[in-house]
Amino acid sequence: MTAAISNRLDRSWPEQGHARVPYWVYTDPEVYRLEQERIFAGPSWSFVALACEIPNPGDFKRTDIGDRPVVVVRDDTGAITVVANRCAHRGVQFCQKDHGNTREFMCPYHQWTYDLRGNLIGVPFRRGVNKQGGMPEDFDPASHALQRLQVAERHGAIFASFDPAAPPFEQYLGASMLGYYDRVFDGRELRLLGYSRQRIPGNWKLMFENIKDPYHASLLHVFLVTFGLFRADQPSEVRMDETGRHSVLVSSRGEQKLNETTGAMKSFRQDFKLSDPRLLNPVKEFAGDATVVMQTLWPNLIIQQQSNTLAMRQMVTRGPAAFDLNWTFFGYADDSAEMTERRLRQANLMGPAGLVSIDDGEIMEFSQAGVTPYDDESGLLEMGGRDTEGVPHMVTEAAIRAFYKHYRLVMGI
């Protein structure tokens, strides 16, 4: 099996293993196609929605898993169904609205109609017209439902899988990652604050590499560094699940003062002060010392908690050289008006215009531009060693190595 796939790709990974990333993984259309099949349509759980986006019966949301469009809908019993946005008749993408409320889904082409669980409930002219035409006698609507995905919901976030072989969600996260997940999703009702969307002209894996890379945060992000929001001299750690596919970067806020470490950072600006400090006025809201927890969940999600700004960053692949980053910002239903205001102000840090995240979007574009012409070259991942173990500091690329260890296993390359 592995050999057959390797032959199909006609590629071989550098002999240094997960301490190298060959540049063809970012550009090869065949790699991309295989990723869709094995990763996004494989036995993984992809984030699709927050439950608070579709609170009422009939509420639906359109989104994508990898590059496959899906619809997430709540039925009369309150249960969530996720279906492929593809009519069972001739493949038309029947849902064209991003969100809404409906009693049923009707494909506009031949008006095939489905209930909110994806069952086919209407085929016009099924018995023909004037005893002519119509579907064959043995046509069974029950065997022509919309393609239904597996659904998992935990504490207000909804995940879906194309593959019935996906393990139970809790098992998929593993005990340690589930602990970080439950830190933000503690069972309280969530409140949707809004969306931001951007198309980043880079391969989707660059996004995971970026969030699994605490090494860059202390150097690239002048804003973060200067205001002590994330910096190498602060207590921090990098942790992975047993497979290496999920990870967290954890850190605690520090002060804006000069010391041995900040002195070594060209990006540290001791004299930079905000003239309107309301932008950065974080309050402690979670147990423990951490003020930043960035969690990456294979294969399409980053759960962002930076100070009081909370967001799901969902990746939707758009070919090897681009992906959409869909940000869903949220708070809790019981937030005070003051807390909501604080979250909305701190949202200035993140998103396509984020005081911090702009740097990352641009870097991913530069990365894609840099690697594209060089199939035979590879990136180097040796900061913090060559292993894939978690560490209690930031000066490491271990989480990226762990990601590629798992990636190679799933892809068979």
Binding site: L193, Q198, V222, R269, T340, P352, E365, F366
Partner: protein, 156 residues
């Protein structure tokens, strides 16, 4: 008394020039002290979702934004070109505020590629006269281009 339309026109021309000519420090000066500047997607605006893509709640917050654009943020060099039209002047509200709506088109040119349409949408403005000068007490930029081509660095 100068014609209000030509005064509004002059303010808008000045706004575009401050950004397009990279005289960004002049941009906050076009707002009053407690002025509001908000960039929000049409998606959030239409659904009543409060999240903004960029939110500045005072002239000083705008000035802070300018400092980050100049000093802390990393981005590829680019030129923007703002085109504004279809200016509709509404009623004078209480406190002498004038409501104005207009359409914008922002073109972006990076050094190594052809010009692209970066964003289009509408401005929802409230203008006030202070010290004999017309300025923004509020500019809300509602953009139709919901999927932003990578980064939004400068004001729309």
């Amino acid at each position: 008394m100068p014609d209000i339309r030509s005064e509004i026109d002059a303010l808008f021309v000045d706004y575009c020039a401050a950004i397009d000519d990279m005289e960004l420090e002049r941009w906050p000066e076009l707002f009053c002290e407690d002025g509001l500047y908000k960039i929000i997607s049409r998606e959030n605006f239409d659904r009543g979702l409060p999240l903004a893509t960029m939110l500045c709640e005072s002239r000083r917050m705008m000035a802070d934004r300018v400092v980050t654009m100049r000093q802390t943020q990393l981005y590829a060099p680019r030129h923007l070109r703002h085109i504004v039209g279809n200016i509709r002047v509404g009623d004078h509200g209480g406190g002498g505020e004038i409501a104005v709506r207009s359409n914008f088109l922002v073109l972006q040119t990076l050094l190594d590629r052809p010009t692209e349409i970066f964003s289009t949408g509408r401005y929802l403005d409230k203008l006030v006269r202070q010290d004999g000068r017309l300025m923004f007490s509020e500019r809300i930029c509602v953009f139709d281009t919901v999927i932003i081509p990578n980064s939004l660095i400068f004001p729309l």
